[in-house]
Symmetry: D2
Subunit: 309 residues, 4 copies
């Protein structure tokens, strides 16, 4: 058993009493019926070596973790023009989100809150169709993951559209401020589809490997984004990746990360590896309860932290 | 000339056209009359070696940078009890600060906004006097800096007290919520005194060296705080160290940092060094305009970033 | 010339220098091209006698004044059940409106802000169609006005729908909180149609006569609403009828009133008469600049005020 | 028994089951120990005739009702200059109060919220002392009440000062925006003293009689304020007299009124009378529970309403 395998086993033992706790997202049936006892974790190192455990190969709804990939894609296409339409600051509570959106005249605080990701969707749409745009996003992730089997869960999409009034409110709000260029329903279709992509812990960790390696896929050698851009995406994940618990995640785990309401978390250890973890029960902040604990334990045991000294 | 000296020279050349720009803080005379053309930078490495340039030995008013030291001291004394009275999340705009303080019933978002630092002052006061508490803070910094000449600028204190209505409002507000235990004027005296401490870039960088070295002063070997705590202070600096420009600083510079309205910035490069920079002109967010540019340039040229990969 | 005619002439002379000032609403073409020099005023007393002047017979877009009629209609149909879904308090600034809507979980502050009127539209819709509901609203106003020629301006409706992103945001927001029961687009169609009703000053004043007469049409003797309900509608107009200038209108004019962005204002003098005034240029609060001045002058000269003593 | 006596008896019977309910203000001992079963009501008509019942002659802490008198006094002294420093709009919830104070740069929304009354205290202070100013306020009320026995309850003052952190926060906040001219502690002393004035229902009603009579004391014939100013004070009471329940009070009672946390309410029936009512238990909005019900019943039975028609 490798050291890492041992640490992962120890992590599983540490979080075992908490498995099944937390509240599974229940705003749509497809999420509500996920088994709350699921737990998987995968670590992919710079050689592409996968160490995993539990349900690390089960696909789940990545939800907001998709925002890391769409941010990367929009930066590839439009570069710094993004920052005229989206900020780079943490957003505070959900309550503050909409207050700030009003106060800041339709400019979302960062690309990892829903409003910001909706602007990113709008930019990715360009003048195109939602279907083509969603295909492009999926293909981009497949390329990153070296896995052609990534797909959108259409049942989740249908439910998201049906219940997505708050996101529709945000989109209309920003359109009213002139910060969306495409028809609201097209933009929302792109947004809901990207949130409905299903991936496993292993796929997630593999697809974000470039963020641990200066923007270059360390296995293939392909430069996905510049080193500077990779650092900056990591910085945004650290500042803004966990909604109003971003500061707490930085404090406890000390790694750039992005969570999704499906119970997944992606975490980057620069120069070393990427971690994907999944457990569906959420804490009060809407982040995976067990996933956060597992990362906290893993980071402490491994010594992985961007703040190490 | 060492590599570092060369990079510092290059940095000075890069920011030279901007020296004297920005707006010097003018809410009190002692700050308003500081020469806007001042610029100093100092790097102290883990052996204690100092590389500096410009006005790096001039003392200036450290203002909010003092919050790093009082946070460290209160954690030494009270540990995690702090987090019952202060949060760990970024605060958004100054406007949002007070909204959030109201919404969150007198619990400030983090120890680096004024309200949070005032709670820290209250905890350091204990049941003691302001004078004794200020002495303790000064002595703590002197110990960290290995320099017994750190002092409080009494002219600045007098002006701060005279004009500090907003901080008095915050303190009374929190007292109304039961989140201050000592008399408001005593707490404010401690707070204003700590902000009025004068230090140079060299002293600043030296005194925070433990944050780059896992909580241990790497020169003397003295463990100031645990490794875990040092990481966490760095995490807080990264998330919350630059008010509502914290996300932007993380994005541009990629290092834990803390700025003060006197024009100073402290930045930590874990495992490597600490940087103190000073230039009085402020940008729109109230952070040193030239200091921020210098750190951005220095980080890019040196490759220093916690997000490097 | 009657006393009232003399006062109206004097009022016209007083406001004459201001005619054409203010900013005509320009968010849709049909409003933007209205002649800014228009000014009309009509007073209808309890015998139904009309005294008018200027462009008092020109139809204009009544916009938010329609909220008085839909509130009356919804109270006739659903009574106090309305108050479970809409409040009765002034809303503060537009900025505060959305903050409060978030803070109060989708319950709008009162039926005269857009969000509140959208809930009223939803209740009027019941399970029916927008077209039938709009016909019912129009017929209700025709009955009140004793004039079968009231109609919806379809060009205005089309423009409202095309540009109404902010109202769409509000509607989706409230739907997300469960405070709308019908499909958002149906509700918005009803809302935009009622805002697009065109009426003249004379028609407006005549149709609200019941509010000056204890809920009974004083000409026909028909009881439209109970006396208590009429008083309460007047109370709401006084508290909330002019957005964030409601307090100022109560202070200056001292009468229950409701303004619309088309430049119309309806004002009720209990026990005496109803006034309709129209001039398209708006003041900074979005209320008719000349219309407000005219009412202030007319109230002062006539001694009409609910606060008279 | 007169008609009015009969209506008051009927009102007492109607509210009897509720006497003793509600929550007595308990933030200071002097208020907390008031007998919750107290209930008094007094009506003073334009001839000065007093009709009263219950504990109508017991003095109680008038608290915020004092704001009506200080507003009147400051208008007498400074006229419209007041409106450069205080607004005339309702304030929404307590939460919104401080948000708005921040958003509107230290200008309180109206003279009946604490922040607004503190600015009024500052203007009354001029360059004088708190003691003299408080004497002037007391004498002004004594003149209005035709009763030289009005006094400040010094025990209440002492408690208010001791616990008044929130008001101290507001005062410092406004001082920081330049909207207070005198030292904060002096201003607060005036403010806390005026709140601590003790008066009975009869005294209250008598002292506000000028507001029912066009600004003239109808008994003595003395013109206290102009007719226009009296109307405007009434308008402000109607719009803003009950904090965030002002709209509801206008809706239910339909009269200009001002409540205090001591359980008193003052209500004006223009051209007819003034009502003072007192019962210490408060409803969720901080207004007298039984007092509000009594006024609602009295207004319904008597037909008194400014919106009558």
């Amino acid at each position: 058993m490798s050291d890492l395998e041992a640490i992962l086993e120890e992590t599983r033992a540490a979080i075992a009493p908490k498995i099944g706790t937390g509240k599974v997202a229940d705003y749509i049936p497809a999420l509500a019926r996920v088994d709350p006892n699921k737990f998987g974790i995968a670590v992919v190192d710079l050689e592409g070596k996968v160490t995993s455990l539990g349900d690390a190969h089960d696909p789940f709804s990545i939800q907001s973790i998709s925002k890391v990939f769409t941010l990367t894609l929009v930066l590839c296409r439009h570069g710094a023009r993004l920052w005229k339409r989206v900020g780079r600051e943490p957003s505070g509570s959900p309550f503050n989100s909409i207050v700030q959106l009003e106060n800041e005249r339709g400019i979302p605080r960062n690309p990892f809150i829903n409003a910001g990701a909706i602007v990113v969707s709008d930019m990715l749409l360009g003048g195109g169709t939602a279907a083509v745009t969603v295909d492009q996003i999926t293909e981009f992730i497949e390329t990153l993951a070296h896995d052609p089997s990534i797909s959108v869960d259409r049942e989740v999409v249908a439910s998201e559209i049906e219940t997505g009034y708050r996101n529709a409110a945000l989109a209309n709000f920003m359109r009213g401020f002139g910060n969306l260029e495409n028809p609201v329903d097209q933009v929302l279709e792109v947004y809901f589809c990207q949130c409905s992509i299903a991936m496993s812990c292993v796929q997630l960790a593999r697809s974000a490997l470039f963020l641990a390696a200066g923007g270059k896929d360390p296995v293939t050698g392909q430069q996905i984004v510049s080193q500077e851009r990779a650092r900056r995406i990591n910085a945004l994940m650290l500042s803004c990746g966990h909604y109003d618990a971003s500061g707490d995640f930085a404090f406890r785990v000390g790694l750039p990360g992005k969570s999704g309401v499906g119970g997944g978390i992606l975490a980057v250890v620069p120069n070393r590896c990427v971690i994907g973890v999944w457990s569906p029960g959420l804490n009060a902040n809407g982040n995976s309860l067990v996933g956060t604990l597992a990362l906290e334990h893993l980071a402490a045991k491994s010594g992985w932290s961007v703040f190490v000294g």
